[in-house]
């Protein structure tokens, strides 16, 4: 069917048929296989990216868990250290208290012993002094008696000589 401007319906249909054939050829030989290849590659890269993201997330979670555990351990260590410090302080205070008590006891014992020694020493001194005094008196008495005896003997001897 001829129309103005040399438009021909038969030729239009032939052009359409040509294009439909070209569409089928390009779709099955180029577009579909290339798109399939691109999609498969994208899917593979996406899978790799997803796996990497998953692993990264797991690593983050593990790191977070480690951090949490570290914090817990640090907290526990701090708590234990505080407890140990408190316990050590208590023990220290107790020992100081005990030592002070013992020192006081030692001092009081020492004082009592010293008092006892002093008393004993005084008593001993008094006894020694009495004894020394008696000895001195005895000595004094004995020396004056011996001298008188000697004088007596000397006079006796003298009288005997004169006779």
């Amino acid at each position: 069917m001829k129309l103005p401007l040399n438009i021909d319906v038969q030729q239009i249909l032939l052009h359409m048929l040509n294009f439909v054939i070209l569409f089928a050829v390009l779709y099955f030989l180029l577009y579909k296989p290339i798109k399939k290849f691109i999609d498969a590659r994208e899917a593979e890269y996406k899978q790799q990216a997803d796996e990497a993201a998953k692993k990264l997330k797991e690593a983050d979670e593990a790191l977070e868990s480690v951090d949490q555990r570290t914090a817990e351990k640090e907290e526990d260590a701090k708590r234990r250290m505080a407890e140990a410090a408190r316990s050590a302080q208590e023990q220290y205070d107790q020992k100081i208290s005990d030592a002070e008590a013992e020192a006081e006891k030692i001092i009081s014992d020492a004082r009592a012993e010293a008092e006892s020694i002093r008393k004993k020493a005084l008593e001993q001194s008094a006894a020694d002094i009495s004894e020394l005094a008696a000895e001195s008196v005895e000595k004094a008495v004995l020396s004056s008696a011996a001298e008188a005896f000697e004088t007596f003997l000397a006079s006796v001897e003298k009288e005997n000589a004169n006779e």
Partner: protein
Amino acid sequence: MSKKQLIISAAIFLVLAALLLVGIILVPGQEKEPIQEAMRDGVLHESAKIGLFGLEVNPGLISAFAVTAILTVFALGVRLFAIPRFKKIPGKFQLVLETAVKYFSGLAKQNSPHRNGFLGAYVFTAGVYIAFSTLFELLGLQAVTVSGSSITLPAPLADINGAIAMGVMSYGVILVSGIIYGKARGAVNALKDFSLPISMSFRLFGALLSGALVTDLVYHYLPLSFVLPSVVAVLFTLLHAIIQAYVLTMLVSVFYGESTEVHDKKIKRK
């Protein structure tokens, strides 16, 4: 080569070129048809018909078949020898093919996010066909008309029948997809743009024909047919190949996306 030899060679070349030019101008050529007739024939192809299985067809149809044949051989070669050797990190040729496919599938996806499988394949074929069929005229293949004279095969879409076929088919794709996917709304959307096949057809025809006519005009006058045609023809053709492929595929994608658009009633009610 010394400077003296260079000057002598250049002088000989210029003298020969000048003699040939004088000879071309002085020797009478074949009787030319007037420019008006040449232009009219360039537009309408009324006199230059080619026989095809008993039919008398425009040279553009033969060009269309030739382009399809060339592209089929090319696609077959690529499918058999290149695609099985595709690598994850593409080479230059693979990159060109992938870029073309990705561009057209991306264009379809961008304009019709919900249904774009068929559209991607259609715009890919349309884009490749328009680009390669426009470049086809650069080959300058000759054919014999029914009157016995030879004719250079033009771009298929410089034939008004080829351009109308392309425009009508594109509109048909938009309309049918609108009816299938968009139901009544899609059909109305496509039908309200009833001028679309005419505008698409004549845009394509006019754009490609203008390039061909300018080239014809330049060839027609002897003083203009030295050096200039090689620049004008190649530049016009390359520009047309890219621009027309882009324009038609973009228009088809936009209208296809509009006619197959999904309207979520539940979202609207909220």
